[in-house]
């Protein structure tokens, strides 16, 4: 039996896609991601005006704010427990006895999950665009495409983190606990919360900016708001400093590349740990 690595990767990818499409976490996640957009449309958010936002921009801004909180939590919790759960249940013992390399197994799962995580968000954005076209709103295509890119970057980051947690945790409880803890810390370090406190307490600005830049949630939040609010009126003090330092384009590039690379680094670390430890 000879099969090219590409064919094996395709096989693994298909297996994981089918497996995830059947899983409850994906059904719930897709329902929330698409349902939120539908809910926002039906509640007439696009017709209201807040701080100058109206139409599709208003709809997308609201969706972005909710996505930022929901998407990472979903990804990290669902991913962190997946491999540990498979190990505890005995699925890994059986499936890894087949002649599939660990590289194919691990990265096939990673890519399949990334595709599945992005699909509902892209569907939601497409629904928003169709709704905007029907209503005669101007569709901010640049915003929609950049927002898609930022979502993909954020998803990659938390997916990588989830895979890392899954590889290092020996039980589902530990994986879940660690993922929730990390998510809470990152939310706490948003400029709305701890960063504002740090600036008020007159911490060194470089330290505060460093934290803001290192937090992928903050990167997403700042960059996504730059698209609609170039002066960052809605955001907290850290965003002002960041905008002054980077400029709009520079910061968007950072927000696209940094979480993506960080996620891939996390996943790479998870893969290394996975291959160097007992698999079951």
């Amino acid at each position: 039996m000879t099969q090219s690595p590409r064919a094996r990767f395709g096989l693994m990818l298909r297996l994981e896609l089918q497996e995830s499409l059947r899983s409850r976490w994906f059904h719930f996640y897709a329902l929330v991601a698409v349902g939120l957009m539908v809910l926002l449309i039906f509640t007439g958010v696009s017709e209201s005006r807040v701080l100058g936002f109206t139409g599709l921009s208003r709809l997308l801004v609201t969706y972005i704010q909710i996505t930022m909180a929901v998407l990472p939590l979903f990804i990290i919790v669902a991913t962190a427990r997946s491999m540990v759960g498979d190990r505890e249940a005995g699925n890994l013992e059986y499936m890894l006895a087949f002649p599939v390399s660990l590289r194919t197994w691990f990265w096939g799962r990673f890519v399949a999950r990334l595709v599945l995580i992005l699909a509902p968000v892209l569907v939601a954005l497409a629904i928003a665009a169709v709704f905007g076209a029907i209503k005669g709103h101007e569709i901010p295509w640049r915003h929609v495409s950049l927002y898609s890119g930022l979502t993909a970057a954020l998803a990659t980051c938390f997916l990588g983190l989830g895979f890392l947690l899954s590889a290092v945790s020996r039980s589902t409880e530990v994986a879940l606990g660690a993922s929730l803890m990390i998510w809470l810390v990152l939310v706490a370090l948003l400029d709305l919360l701890l960063l504002s406190v740090l600036i008020k307490a007159q911490f060194v600005p470089e330290f505060v900016i460093g934290i803001a830049l290192a937090n992928p949630l903050q990167s997403f939040r700042t960059a996504s708001m730059i698209l609609f609010d170039p002066q960052l009126i809605l955001l907290g003090p850290a965003s002002y400093v960041i905008l002054d330092t980077f400029g709009e384009t520079g910061y968007v590039l950072w927000a696209l590349s940094y979480p993506t690379l960080l996620g891939l680094a996390f996943a790479g670390l998870g893969y290394w740990r996975f291959t160097k430890s007992d698999l079951v």
Binding site: M1, Q3, R8, L11, M12, L15, Q18, E19, R22, S23, A89, G90, N91, L92, E93, Y94, M95, L96, A97, F98, P99, V100, S101, L102, K276, S277, D278, L279, V280
Partner: protein
């Protein structure tokens, strides 16, 4: 040099040695019953061979040192775990994965499944985890036997099978002449008709390595005497089939080929409560 050479294999969990400097050679054509109490190290040995565990020592396949979890080596090994995994995928998807990813033969899978008493078309759409324990085990056995491999590893393979399926399973394994087998079982009598070598493990070490086939080749016969507490027609008929003779229906005498000792002991273990006297003389002492 055996097909698989295991040299100084050790595996520790938090300082406790589950496999302790284990050295073993598995030849092509070996059909090994791996016995031992819980915690003896049988499953750990399997997991080391399959690359699931990191370990100290060396495992060589056909004289070449294999990297841990070498895909080429895994393509030559089929495995059935002790407990069927709760896979959510439909049975059809598992079979398709086994076919495309591990070279399982579709026609052979259908034939084996039929022999085991399951209709693959009927359960193809059912999630694997929703099958009964016996059905799951039959599907896993089907997948393993449909692969063209050199070594089959079975961890308590018949634990969930009903007696009829167990008999078919043993027959299927017996008919599979081309592959070596490593079968862990708590019940030696169950696999006795199948194996030509018995390895007993205790606390991570091999404490018995008995090659039945050598003595069989030598044509050695063992004298056997059995005394029953009361006449038992079924048991008497079974003993008569083995060539035993009796004068009063309770005392039997006969000779069995040494190579069939395990199979014979498997038979008489079913009537253990009737047996008052048992002597088996190999003529060695």
């Amino acid at each position: 040099m055996g097909m698989i050479s295991i040299n100084g294999l050790s595996k520790r969990f938090e300082r406790r040695a589950v496999l302790d400097e284990l050295t073993l050679s598995i030849e092509a054509g070996d059909r090994i019953a791996l016995i031992g109490s819980n915690g003896a190290g049988k499953t750990t040995l399997f997991r080391c061979l399959l690359g699931h565990y990191r370990y100290q020592g060396a495992v060589e396949f056909d004289g070449a040192g294999a990297a841990r979890r070498d895909v080429g080596m895994l393509s030559r090994i089929a495995f059935v775990p002790q407990l069927p995994p709760p896979l959510r995928m439909p049975v059809g998807e598992l079979l398709s994965f086994a076919e495309k990813g591990a070279g399982a033969d579709r026609t052979r899978m259908t034939e084996i499944a039929e022999a085991m008493g399951i209709d693959l078309d009927e359960i193809r759409r059912q999630p694997f985890y929703r099958l009964s324990g016996g059905q799951k085990q039959k599907v896993l056995v089907t997948v393993a036997l449909a692969r063209d491999v050199d070594l089959m590893i079975f961890d308590e393979p018949a634990a969930n099978l009903d007696p009829a399926a167990r008999a078919v399973f043993i027959d299927l394994l017996a008919a599979r002449k081309s592959a070596s087998m490593l079968i862990a079982s708590h019940r030696l009598e169950e696999v006795a008709p199948l194996v030509n070598r018995v390895i007993e493990m205790d606390r991570g070490k091999v404490v018995l390595d008995d090659s039945v086939v050598d003595r069989l080749k030598a044509g050695v016969l063992s004298s056997c005497r059995i005394g029953l507490s009361e006449p038992h027609p079924t048991f008497a008929a079974a003993l008569t089939d083995w060539g035993f003779e009796t004068s009063n229906g309770t005392h039997f005498e006969g000779r069995i080929p040494a190579g069939d000792t395990l199979r014979f002991l498997g038979l008489i273990s079913r009537y253990a409560s009737l047996i008052d006297l048992l002597s088996l003389d190999t003529g060695k002492s």
